[in-house]
Amino acid sequence: MKKSILVIVISAVGALQLTAQNVEFKASNFKDRKDEMNTIVENMKAADVILESANEDISNVRDPKNKFKEILPVYREAQAFNPNNAEVNLKLGNTLLYTNEKYEAKKYLDRAQELSKEMSPMLHFYLGQAEQLAYNFPLAIKHYKTFEETAKNKLAENYKKISGKYKKECKYGKEFKGNPERVWVDNMKEVNSSADDYSPCISADGELLMFTSNRDNGHAKNKYGNYDGDIYFSGLNGRTFAAAKNAGTPLSTPKDETASALAYDGQRLLMFKEDNGNMDIYESTLDGVLWGEPVKKLSKIPNTEHNETYATYEPQDIKVFYIFDGMTRGDKEIFVSGLMVYTIADYNKWGKGQSIGQPVTTRYNEGSVFVHPDGNTMYFSSQGHNSMGGYDIFMTTRNKLEQWTKPVNMGYPINTPYDDLFYASTANGKHAYISSNRDGGQGSMDLYQVTFWGPTKKMAIGSEDFLLASIAEPIEDVQIEAAVEVDKKSLTVFKGKVIDNITRSPLGADIVIVDNATGKVFSRFKSNSATGKFLLSLPAGKNYGISVNKEGYLFHSENFDILAESDYNLVNKDVELKNIAVGSKIALRNVFFETGKAIIDPTSHTELGRLVDLLNDVPSLVIELGGHTDNVGSAELNTRLSGDRAAVVVGYLKKEGISASRLQAKGYGPTRPVDTNSTSEGRQNNRRTEFMIVAN
């Protein structure tokens, strides 16, 4: 039993916490702060009256003017004092929805929902708007439907017309959000303030920005706690705008001034301010770097006791489009006035203003207007057409018949469920400047820069081809000249002498050199007859045959090598030829005998050896050895001695193996002198041993 009670108690406490406790403005709830509470309640009572009137304005599409601004601080104070009161949260939310701080509304309305046991139809209505602002379109529509089904009083009937519009706005919003435009919308952080910054005017080249702001300008605040509106400017610094500076007098004064439009060349400014209780359009002209005193733009006719506010230039300067609220309906509309007279004297004479008419104008408010430098495109803001909430920016173009065509919503994210107004664009259309009180800014109304992506940029797709085959697959034709034979050529000097084998005297003989490897004759020449010498160069590294031939001499041939690697490239070869001519007499000058005797001196053996060789080499040779003397002494003795000496030589030869049949000996004595006997030299020459070839 105890357990179940505990459970019940716990759940009851839990239930109480789920539906928060609504705290009434009762003395019992604020025991220590009774006086404060009473002041607040008093103020609220007065504010409530204004709130009702303001809400009625809204439901009748009338300008609530400054009513919401006036009561906002009251409800803020009240809510701060008593945050847990459903009604004050609702009223604060309601009020905020019609100011530039509407992004704050949701949290108070949510709180109001938490604190309400039962939600009032109006709570649904305002929650619907808060959800619409938060892009929760299905939920918003649900709230609006609930409101329509549950609202009963007369005021609610008017509101039902509006909630019907808001439901449509939600549908448009869903469409636009699902199809974002190819733009970036960036808050102009360097330029904005926490106060209202609006009505951007841009020169056609995009370098000068002028706008209005009610930020702290050092003047006194008005009764709503706001500063008066002043005109500010900022110049483009590279790609960003510099911090804003107050344009100063004569543009900005302690009264409210609002900038409307900058001429395309940036030399004139349209603005408006109060004169005689209503707003009029003024124009200021730049004189060097200083702005001139603003003068009224339009002449008396279009300048009425109603409000002519935001105006725009158009390229030919013969028309002015402006916002006017003097029609019976009372909503703000786009009007146009044309220049009446073209002479300079009457240049300020403007015709009566006329509504721009269908299809642009609506029964809702139009908030701003701008004509593009091309003269045929107009951007304006309106709460009507297919806005997705509050003011939206629209575009319309002029056709060939000078008629404006059906306006087109600029889409999300240029437009939002918040108020989006004041479109101004550069001539090239890359950038545009708007104002919006959307969530996420620096506070209240802010300036935003719109950057158009432009047409989809094509990607540069690269492809390559090998159009030329010789580059694709280079021909591998790298023929070079062939290797060469390396013949190790070197020449060797070949020199020599041809001499008589016995007498050693030089001979001129025919010489033939043959390359034994090939058998080809390398050279034919004669040895010098006086010296017997020959000299030529022969390629080294070969074996040569040499044959030496002289008539009367034995043919001589031999072979020899000339080596390739000889350091000393000289080869010497002496050739001895053997005399074999019949009848030729060869003196043996190197054969000696003991004096007066027929005994051979041993020194003779060398020459005799040569003779032996000759006889052996030529087996057919038959010789006669002859002894000769000079004429000194007895002829008979000389003859006998010479004969003996010849015989002794024959004996020697026989002993050396020469057949006797080939040898003859004879003593000639002095009978065959070869020289004169009257000189000792001559006599010496005559004393000789000689052999004569008898046969061969």
Binding site: R239, G454, K457, A460, G462, L467, K488, K489, S490
Partner: protein, 365 residues
């Protein structure tokens, strides 16, 4: 004894002259002769060395050691300055090393010696062509042809020179002559086809490419040329089959993968395009166009950071690749780096991209 004594001076004299005439001692004339033979032998040795070095150079050339070959031929030329074959071979080695100025010098030496064959002119022409001196190349090819009127390759090469000079009609004439001399040389047909293509005579181009392909069916680049030509004619399906054939014949032909990918990209078939660009990159990871094209796919898929990374790689592979800069600018714009975008478009413009110029002018001031 006295007689003996009398004889001695004679013997000695005889002996002396004998000795003098043999071995070390030489007469003045003989010495001169010997010196001249020695000098001649030195010459022979030098020439031998020159030939040995030359042969060594040839061995080096055959084993693709071109630097060594150049050095060896140079040595042989030093030893034997009239060694024309060495000049010629060195010229060929320089050409292989792509040192065309030096190659031309060597070929010119051969040519100026009035002892040259047509091949020296042909090789010099090749080197001139590689240096972009097309008129000089053409003159040399004409001389080659004078020596060798039936040299089809010379006509073909001359056609290429005219192609490089953008004188496509003349190029076509030369290719046609080459084809007349040798109608079985795929290169002539291919290059003539490319000349027609440059003149936008696509039907004739296709015919020549097909003929080339039928002669040498293993040359992937011919199919690639076919494919890209058909793409120009808007015959996408046929282009596709040609690119397919190109990669079938040579699965390493990254150029064809990239081209096929480009075709898919244009048809909006991003997955297939991506596959091909990836394949091209796998084969050649320094191929700028494939990186740039892949980046473009990333961009279309709104993956801008990946796109930029790919364009970075393209630029790394080829810092002069204009497309990569232009595309990177376009991606940088989408991540709000307008300064970076403008800088890149400007660079693309400087490198000759018309698109870059347009974007820079329209978006950056």
């Amino acid at each position: 004894m006295i007689k003996l004594i009398k004889f001695i001076p004679v013997i000695l004299l005889l002996g002396a002259t004998d000795l003098y005439a043999q071995g070390e001692g030489l007469t003045e004339d003989e010495q001169l002769f010997k010196d001249s033979i020695e000098a001649l032998n030195l010459d022979f040795a030098t020439v031998q060395k020159a030939k040995e070095t030359y042969n060594q150079g040839i061995k080096q050339f055959e084993s693709k050691d071109y630097k060594g070959a150049v050095s060896s031929f140079g040595s042989s030329i030093k030893l034997f300055p009239r060694f024309l074959n060495a000049y010629f071979n060195r010229g060929v080695a320089y050409s292989q090393m792509k040192d065309y100025d030096k190659a031309i010098r060597d070929f010119s030496t051969v040519i100026d010696s009035n002892n040259s064959k047509a091949i020296a002119y042909a090789k010099r022409a090749e080197a001139y062509g590689a240096l972009g001196e097309y008129d000089k190349a053409i003159a040399d090819y004409k001389t080659t042809i004078k020596h060798q009127p039936r040299n089809a390759v010379a006509y073909y090469n001359m056609g290429d020179m005219y192609f490089m000079k953008e004188e496509y009609l003349t190029a076509i004439d030369e290719f046609t002559k080459a084809i007349k001399l040798d109608n079985n040389y795929a290169y002539s047909y291919n290059d003539r086809g490319s000349s027609y293509r440059r003149l936008e005579k696509y039907a004739e181009a296709i015919m020549d490419y097909q003929k080339a392909a039928s002669i040498s069916p293993d040359l992937a680049f011919i199919y690639n040329n076919l494919g890209s030509t058909r793409k120009k004619m808007g015959r996408y399906e046929e282009a596709l089959s040609a690119f397919n054939k190109a990669v079938e014949v040579n699965p390493e032909f990254y150029i064809a993968y990239n081209n096929r990918g480009g075709l898919y990209f244009e048809q909006g078939k991003m997955d297939l395009a991506l596959k091909d660009f990836n394949q091209a990159i796998t084969i050649n990871n320094k191929y700028a166009p494939a990186y740039s094209n892949r980046g473009s796919v990333m961009h279309r898929q709104e993956k801008y950071k990946e796109a930029i990374a790919d364009f970075d790689k393209a630029i790394q592979s080829n810092p002069q690749y204009a497309n990569a800069y232009v595309n990177r600018g376009t991606s940088k714009e989408m991540i709000r780096d307008i300064n970076g975008a403008c800088s890149d478009w400007n660079k693309g413009k400087e490198l000759g991209s018309v698109q870059g110029k347009k974007y820079q002018m329209n978006n950056c001031y």
